[in-house]
């Protein structure tokens, strides 16, 4: 968030000093008095049209997901919609062999992203923040996967994991019949294989976020710490890391959302076959798969929606509250 990370971009330098804030209030009242009727209409349209589009396609559909979750519907004509109460959820929680593994995999996805790319991204950012030569070249390399689509990443990593022709098996000699290690097909391995690819991409993203956060750390803090005789690690632990708190919050939210959104990579890898089921995959299979069960698919979507909102809403409320205070 812009206000969370001070001076992380040239644009952010344009933040007016806090002293300017009180001027805003009377100015705004002045605004409203000067508006003509036509201005009000223009403003209404300017805010209204985009809102209608966004709310219709995003929030009305999210709401419809909730409603449909309590029905069965074959999608042909509205009169076939039947209210079934919590039946979809009951079946989902007790009678779907894919549901709990999917929940588990989404959780594992988050845990792995927090345990590996997060410290790694932070570590790289700290090293690259040392005013070293070629910093930009290194950054470009680490950040490169972030601009690629998950689909392309999926294909590229398939070339690494392919049992016959892939890099890993070729190098360790497991590419002969009888010795195959099936990184993509084996349910005990495939989630970890996908997660390596996901971590590969996520690290660069977090590195950039942390680099932006580190730019906001007051150099005087560092100097003071060095003068006190603290070594590099002590300075980082006691001085730098605590000031990165806003960045850490962003990283946490970004990572949770990334874990909930995970889809493309798995779909390209093996379409979410055994071992890599995810909530997003189950929902999609209920649309484009053979079994088109609208109510049931919506019930899974509601589970995903509830988890997402439980993260998004508190985060945004806190952010906006902070902004208002600022």
């Amino acid at each position: 968030m812009t206000t969370d990370i001070p001076a992380k971009s040239p644009e952010a330098a344009a933040v007016p000093p806090p002293g300017a804030a009180p001027v805003k209030q009377p100015a705004k009242q002045g605004h409203q008095r000067l508006l003509t009727r036509r201005d009000r209409l223009t403003l209404g349209l300017m805010a209204g049209l985009p809102t209608i589009l966004h709310v219709t396609l995003v929030w009305v559909t999210a709401l419809a997901s909730i409603l449909l979750a309590f029905t069965t519907w074959d999608g042909i004509g509205f009169d076939t919609i039947k209210w079934v109460g919590f039946d979809n959820f009951k079946e989902l929680f007790t009678n779907n062999p894919q549901f709990w593994p999917a929940v588990e995999h989404n959780v594992v996805w988050f845990v792995v992203l927090i345990l590996i790319p997060t410290p790694l991204g932070l570590f790289l950012a700290v090293q690259l923040d040392k005013k070293i030569r070629f910093s930009r070249v290194y950054q470009t390399a680490f950040f490169l996967p972030v601009v690629l689509s998950m689909a392309v990443i999926g294909f590229v990593w398939q070339l690494v994991y392919n049992p016959d022709t892939g890099l890993i098996n070729s190098v360790i000699g497991a590419n002969e019949p009888g010795k195959y290690i099936d990184w993509i097909g084996d349910p005990d391995l495939n989630l970890w294989a996908v997660l390596i690819a996901a971590s590969w991409r996520h690290t660069g993203y977090l590195m950039i976020l942390y680099l932006a956060g580190l730019k906001g750390v007051d150099p005087a803090l560092r100097e003071a710490s060095a003068l006190d005789g603290a070594n590099e690690w002590q300075t980082f632990k006691n001085v730098i890391f605590p000031t990165l708190r806003p960045t850490n919050t962003i990283v946490l939210v970004v990572t949770i959302i990334e874990a909930l959104r995970a889809f493309d990579l798995v779909f390209v890898f093996n379409k979410g076959a055994e071992g890599t089921e995810l909530l997003s995959i189950l929902i999609t299979n209920n649309i484009i798969g053979e079994s088109s069960r609208i109510g049931y698919g919506s019930a899974i979507a509601v589970v995903l929606l509830v988890i997402s909102l439980a993260v998004i809403i508190p985060y945004l409320v806190a952010t906006f509250r902070k902004e208002r205070r600022a």
């Binding site: 809102t51 290194y138 680490f142 392309v152 070339l159 070729s170 390209v268 999609t284 906006f320």
Partner: protein
């Protein structure tokens, strides 16, 4: 660099070897970071006949771009690139246009609704796409647009994809732009308003030109995101012919890219446009990403 080593050198003597070690580490890490892509490149440059005979981990006899030309022509990739262009260009422009209007409203006019409005937009953008896909898919099937789209519906049409991209991404852009506009000096708009300028003029001729840096960053970001979108087209497009390139890759890999060398070439060709944009506009991309770091 020289100054920092000089000043630090007074406090701690062994600074040079540490730096060299750091460079060795970073260079090694950066190279291994690129390894999967370099491996794909290496596979794509070698003829299938050679790799199937000698194995993929082997010294090359021939290196050429045949796989790239074959992948590109056989699967008519240019057609799918054109599909992407038809979707991405209007989607990026429309997103920037609509979200800048909302941002202008939220940032410049302190009406009661604006915080709630911003919350709705931003939260909407953070939702996983799959949360809304089931009703969205049904909605797109229900909306008849005879004569307007090729399919006669919103489903399976470029228009449908443009709309969902705009609706979804405008949340993020509205958030970033409203923050940006709040930083602009108020006196500018005040003066114009006192002079009797209309609200539209205030937005179009005074505020927007000042937002150019933010708009450029967002345009870069949006182009890459929309180009990279896989999911919307996967579900909302049924005809393989109508798919944008990123989503088409999945079908093409089964139909035309029959060996790993061709798959590698096809995937790398798909990555070329974003890589060009990235290398040319890296600064824009990164500043856009950190401008609104709330993006998932």
């Amino acid at each position: 660099m020289s100054t920092s080593t000089a000043t630090l050198g007074k406090q701690r003597t062994p600074i040079r070897p540490a730096r060299i070690l750091l460079h060795l580490f970073l260079a090694g890490a950066a190279l291994s970071w690129l390894a999967p892509l370099l491996w794909a490149m290496y596979s794509a440059l070698r003829p299938y006949s050679e790799t199937s005979e000698k194995g993929y981990v082997s010294w090359p006899d021939t290196l050429n771009f045949d796989n790239f030309t074959n992948a590109f022509t056989q699967s008519e990739m240019s057609h799918y690139f054109a599909n992407t262009l038809v979707i991405a260009v209007p989607a990026v422009l429309l997103t920037l246009f609509l979200s800048s209007m909302v941002a202008f409203y939220v940032a410049r006019f302190d009406f009661r609704l604006n915080l709630a409005l911003l919350l709705i937009f931003t939260a909407g953008n953070l939702l996983p796409q799959q949360v809304i896909i089931t009703p969205l898919y049904r909605l797109y099937l229900l909306i008849d647009l005879p004569g307007i789209t090729m399919s006669g519906k919103l489903y399976d049409s470029a228009l449908g994809l443009v709309l969902i991209h705009v609706a979804f991404q405008s949340g993020f852009c509205a958030f970033v732009l409203s923050n940006y506009m709040k930083m602009l000096p108020h006196e500018l708009t005040e003066a114009a308003l006192v002079d009797g300028a209309s609200v539209w003029r205030l937005y179009w001729q005074i505020t927007l030109p000042l937002c150019k840096p933010a708009m450029a960053a967002l345009a870069t970001l949006l182009s890459i995101w929309i180009y990279n979108d896989f999911f919307w087209a996967l579900v909302l497009i049924s005809t393989g012919e109508n798919m944008p390139i990123t989503s088409a890759l999945n079908n093409l890999s089964g139909q035309y890219f029959t060996d790993p060398n061709l798959i590698a070439a096809g995937a790398l060709i798909t990555a070329v446009p974003v890589l060009i944009v990235y290398f040319l506009l890296q600064r824009q991309f990164v500043s856009g990403l950190t401008l609104g770091a709330n993006k998932g």
